[in-house]
Symmetry: C2
Subunit: 210 residues, 2 copies
């Protein structure tokens, strides 16, 4: 095992450090974030930072940095109030990654990557038709992380579109059956294979497998 100190991290080449630090947290979710701008152009961008915030009220969030590509997503959320998360599955990994290219604001990433817009009657933000788990959200709040100007954006889930065959009796959605992928770092895509589900853990009692 090698120990890296603060000094080691700060003296790494910037590309090396970016890969190192981005893989360090562990596996991350893979979602396409859909928004619409004021000229009615649909924007789509891949995010590896979507997180669960709470079940009741149903809240989810994502982290974004003030970069060129990402700014379109942010401006669209602020002007329209709505956005979507669409799980990336094994069949659309290459197209999903391609949405990270810096297209200009007049180009829709849906057209550029040949992914299909699916509209909702609940909100104006576009879904990805090819995605098997789609989530519509309404903007709720944001937090500026002072240490590096990253933004945490929180939305309330107002619509979920999913095939009920993926959902077990207790509400657990089987992401492997939906072929949802995981991300490591900025550019690594992974398939997942279930090991086990464990029962609620109690002191002094070995937790059984569900």
């Amino acid at each position: 095992m090698t120990k890296y100190t603060s000094e080691d991290l700060l003296s790494m080449d910037s590309n090396y450090r970016r890969n190192f630090m981005n893989t360090l947290a562990g596996f991350k979710s893979a979602n396409l974030l859909g928004t619409i701008n004021e000229s009615k152009i649909n924007n789509l961008a891949i995010f590896n930072s979507v997180v669960h915030i709470g079940a009741n009220p149903p809240l989810m969030g994502f982290l974004l940095r003030p970069l060129t590509v990402i700014r379109q997503t942010y401006e669209n959320i602020k002007s329209s109030n709505y956005f979507t998360f669409n799980h990336v599955n094994t069949g659309i990994v290459a197209q999903a990654h391609q949405t990270s290219a810096k297209y200009d604001q007049h180009t829709s990433e849906f057209e550029a990557t040949q992914l299909t817009v699916e509209n909702s009657d609940k909100h104006p933000a576009p879904y990805v038709a090819e995605s098997k788990i789609k989530i519509g959200l309404k903007y709720r709040e944001e937090h500026l992380i002072k240490a590096n100007d990253t933004l945490l954006i929180i939305g309330e889930v107002i619509e979920v579109i999913v095939n009920p065959s993926f959902i077990s009796e207790d509400g657990f959605i089987h992401l492997d059956q939906a072929e949802t992928v995981a991300i490591s770092g900025l550019d690594g895509y992974y398939k997942a294979q279930k090991i086990n589900r464990f029962q609620y853990a109690r002191p002094g009692k070995k937790s059984s497998i569900i």
Copy 2:
């Protein structure tokens, strides 16, 4: 495909909704969070909410809710200023899940689950010796999410302990080689299998596989 509205989500049985909402974001990282309390008892708790915040300065964060088990972690971070993230690997999944049991504050989850404390000369927080990727952090800031009182805690990475054989030339840590697992929901553990890494995407150009 079934559409779930806000009303459908709010009328779900609370256990069903908890599983549904916790699996909805996609795959999540699996980390054991180590802290020490003022009586020098080492605390260990599994978290599925560790996220990358930034590479320079090196920052990571996690989300926590004001619950009993979690409060020990929070109090220890506030009193000692330091904490560790330790990747859960396939060999310690059952022990890692068992740390979620509500042990009292006089019991160390290390002893209760037979995981081994590894100390650092950089900070007082305990690492998990069995973990193959270990991260030491210093508390930086926190944000209260108003929508549901969840806290986002941010730390600066001050030490990383990892076998360099897992790290590629460009800094990418191969989490599958370290046998790091992913979590779905509150209790589902998954192995990951690499699909591809893709090069930096550019408009009008198909991104090659690395």
